[in-house]
């Protein structure tokens, strides 16, 4: 079981996870599928490289890495729910909007759709136009909390093409490698039809299921990643 998505979301979004459970305005985001590569170079921990997939559709966002997929969905009342699908373990953990608020795991809908929050982007300096993967883009640069940040922002797709964050000996880089109208059939998907046979776990029940080794592993990873969106 892996849960590196939470980790990269946390790294990428920084303090944005602190946003209250807010659904976005009715702003539309074009449906698309993206493949990203990331690398993290840490002076002490070495280098980590990975690949993950992003799928944006009407009122839902999928984030997949290997056999682990996160599915965020927005309903007609702008309420956002979250499902974590562990295909290898055949388990599904679901969080209702109320549970996301209770656990401070809610993420702004706009942030989920754009990976980088507009607030962060606004805090950076536009450095001019460029092209990335043949698409119109804008370069941004700046420092936030002592961290140097560079972003190449795809204006039409409303997605980052490239993000570099550097602080001390730690450097994180995210690169968009592929952008498609539809995901490749080999890309990881939530596949709720397949997951219908998985064991369903309410996210509110994790604390009462610590005797379950799978739940213990999830909680340990969550604790290590500091998944909960605190103000600090």
């Amino acid at each position: 079981m892996t849960n590196r998505f939470a980790r990269w979301l946390l790294v990428l979004l920084g303090s944005l996870l602190a946003a209250a459970a807010t659904a976005a305005s009715a702003q539309d985001y074009p449906a698309l599928a993206a493949r990203y590569q990331e690398s993290r170079v840490d002076g002490h921990a070495g280098t980590h490289r990975g690949e993950w997939f992003f799928l944006r559709q009407t009122d839902q966002v999928e984030l997949g890495r290997g056999a682990y997929v996160e599915l965020w969905q927005r309903d007609a009342r702008d309420e956002v729910s979250w499902q974590r699908i562990f295909h290898d373990e055949r388990k599904l953990i679901a969080y209702t909007p109320g549970e996301l608020r209770t656990q401070r795991r809610a993420v702004a809908w706009r942030t989920l759709n754009t990976i980088i929050d507009a607030g962060l982007l606004a805090s950076l300096q536009p450095m001019g136009r460029t092209r990335y993967l043949g698409r119109q883009a804008t370069r941004y640069r700046g420092r936030v909390d002592g961290e140097a940040i560079e972003v190449v922002w795809l204006d039409t797709e409303k997605l980052p093409g490239r993000v570099v964050r550097q602080k001390g000996e730690t450097r994180y880089e995210l690169r968009l490698k592929e952008l498609r109208a539809q995901p490749d059939s080999r890309w990881p998907r939530a596949d709720l039809a397949r997951a219908a046979d998985y064991e369903f776990i309410d996210g509110a029940d994790l604390g009462d299921r610590e005797y379950d080794p799978f739940v213990r592993r999830v909680l340990a990873v969550d604790a290590r990643n500091g998944l909960t969106g605190h103000q600090h």
């Binding site: 109320g98 064991e199 309410d202 604390g207 969550d222 605190h230």
Partner: protein, 521 residues
């Protein structure tokens, strides 16, 4: 610093300053004041003695028994809820009393189970409703039962009769109400027998398991219990529906592999007076006078936290409203009733490290206790209010009287006339009164240059604020200290002192005067 030690230093400093002629301002008006007069403290104590002397033990046989269980409602949760409820009424809060605290008899319940120092809800509720301590994760089977057993005969042999089942055999009506799934451990322990609390639907079980899942057990109760169980209200709708069906609130699929619609079976097996409801409007329309059997499943999983209930898509009744409906239905039986009511989401909010939601749910359960007291007579109805286990929830520091229970600690000023200021830790940072020993509220403040987060400008009273935790865990844990037991009505005086949790069953059995002798094996 201990308050006495702090005052000792203050006295020493004062003496030193007096010797040099530098007197601090001593004559100012205290910034913090309680509303009481000097006389009122003593008179309140006298009043308590007079009332206690007039309190005769009620030796009558109980016609009705209502067992309230606040899941995870430890003593600190009761205290903090009491203060929050008082502060919501504009009072300082500490002097407030929850309705449950007005019950005349109190004990402490030891919550360890046969194999756990700190227990989960399954063996603790099993203890309360069967009279026996049991194993982790098991519901109303004895501690000789192997883990994960699918041997239905073995489970039957090891099953422990519950107070609900005994009441049914005595001809009483019975009911189960919870804000959690009605198949969750606490409500399920009253009617189901299984080695695995998570077997709530057949899809949660190993293929071919001969032990019935919990939802099915609720529908396929033994004849006498089936006739008696008039009302079951809570969450867990999808556990009763087949995977081929779609439930109406969220268009979600059911969780049953066996293709059975247990809500339809409830209606089919309970006769013409049976009803199934899943939203507030249907619930309100169910007339207790004409409804013989009522199944209410108001969410796919747990019901909403009380703080979020108003936003529910289809509308949900409150715990007090469900309690009232249940009592009005059960009161139609002249032989009396047994009712279990659970505030099931106190526990979940604590696991999340979200104290405000936990306290609001506790206050909601207290409203249900109030409703039960209004609708019944203390002459013939034993009411017990307790918890299955505690949480690592603490009330810390030396906040002044009336300090916001959800706020940062601000102590009584050293000198009368001085303003109230925030107390600081050794790092110079403020801290909240409420906190947890472990859980998701731990914050990594290293990036901010601090060892702890600076909460000075944070609204710690916000609904979604997570109190700080000392040990970083993905979920806050249960705690092993004793929990309170409050009681009123017939045989309530048997609730006293330090009790093993399973003795609560014996109090209820004694009150009902049931002739069950136990020792089934």
């Amino acid at each position: 610093m201990h308050q006495f030690a702090r005052k000792g230093i203050a006295v020493a400093l004062m003496a030193a300053m007096m010797s040099t002629g530098a007197l601090p301002a001593l004559a100012g008006t205290p910034a913090v004041q309680g509303p009481e007069t000097v006389e009122q403290w003593y008179e309140a104590g006298n009043q308590f003695i007079r009332e206690s002397r007039r309190l005769p033990p009620n030796e009558r046989k109980a016609k009705n028994v209502i067992l309230f269980v606040g899941d995870g409602m430890g003593v600190s949760t009761v205290t903090a809820s009491r203060i929050l409820a008082g502060q919501m009424k504009g009072q300082p809060g500490e002097e407030n009393r929850l309705i449950m605290e007005t019950l005349p008899y109190v004990a402490l319940s030891k919550t360890y189970s046969w194999d756990q120092q700190t227990s989960d809800s399954a063996p603790t509720m099993t203890a309360m409703v069967t009279g026996y301590k049991a194993r982790e994760g098991m519901l109303s089977v004895n501690h000789l039962t192997p883990r994960n057993t699918c041997d239905a005969d073995l489970v039957a042999r090891n099953s422990l009769p519950t107070i609900l089942e005994l009441a049914a055999k005595a001809g009483k009506s019975t009911g189960v109400v919870s804000t959690a799934r009605i198949t969750h451990a606490t409500p399920a322990a009253t009617y189901a027998h299984t080695a695995v609390r998570d077997w709530e639907a057949d899809s949660n079980q190993p293929a071919g398991c001969a032990v019935k899942d919990i939802a099915r057990q609720l529908i396929e109760l033994p004849e006498d219990v089936r006739k008696s169980l008039k009302v079951a209200l809570g969450g867990g709708r999808t556990y009763f529906l087949p995977k081929t069906a779609t439930e109406p609130e969220y268009n979600a699929k059911g969780r049953r592999n066996d293709g059975r619609d247990l809500t339809a079976e409830w209606l089919a097996t309970r006769g013409a007076g049976a009803r199934y409801v899943w939203n507030k409007a249907q619930f309100d329309a169910a007339d207790p006078a004409s409804t013989e059997y009522l199944l209410g499943l108001f969410e796919n999983s747990h019901m909403q936290y009380e703080a979020d209930r108003a936003n529910d898509r289809a509308g949900e009744p409150s715990l007090a409203e469900m309690t009232e409906k249940a009592i009005r239905m059960l009161q139609k039986n002249n032989k009396g009733f047994f009712l279990m009511v659970e505030g099931g989401r106190i526990d979940h909010a604590h696991h999340a490290g979200n104290a405000k939601r936990a306290l609001i749910d506790t206050i909601a359960m207290d409203e249900a206790v109030k409703k039960a007291l209004e609708l019944t007579s203390r002459e013939d109805t034993l009411i017990i209010v307790t918890a299955d286990h505690s949480h690592t929830f603490t009330i810390a520091g030396y906040p002044h009287r009336g300090n916001n229970i959800l706020g940062l600690v601000a102590g009584v000023p050293e000198n009368d006339g001085d303003p109230v200021t925030l107390d600081k830790d050794r790092l110079g940072l403020p801290y909240t009164t409420l906190g947890y020993a472990n859980g998701p509220g731990w914050r990594d403040a290293i990036a901010t240059g601090n060892k702890r987060p600076d909460l000075t400008s944070v609204d710690t009273t916000a609904l979604n604020f997570l109190q700080e935790a000392t040990v970083p865990l993905g979920s806050e844990t249960h705690a092993g200290e004793d929990v309170p037991v409050y009681a009123s009505g017939p045989m309530a005086h048997l609730v006293r002192g330090s009790m093993e949790q399973n003795w609560i069953f014996h109090v209820m059995r004694e009150a009902f005067d049931l002739k069950h002798t136990g020792h089934k094996r």
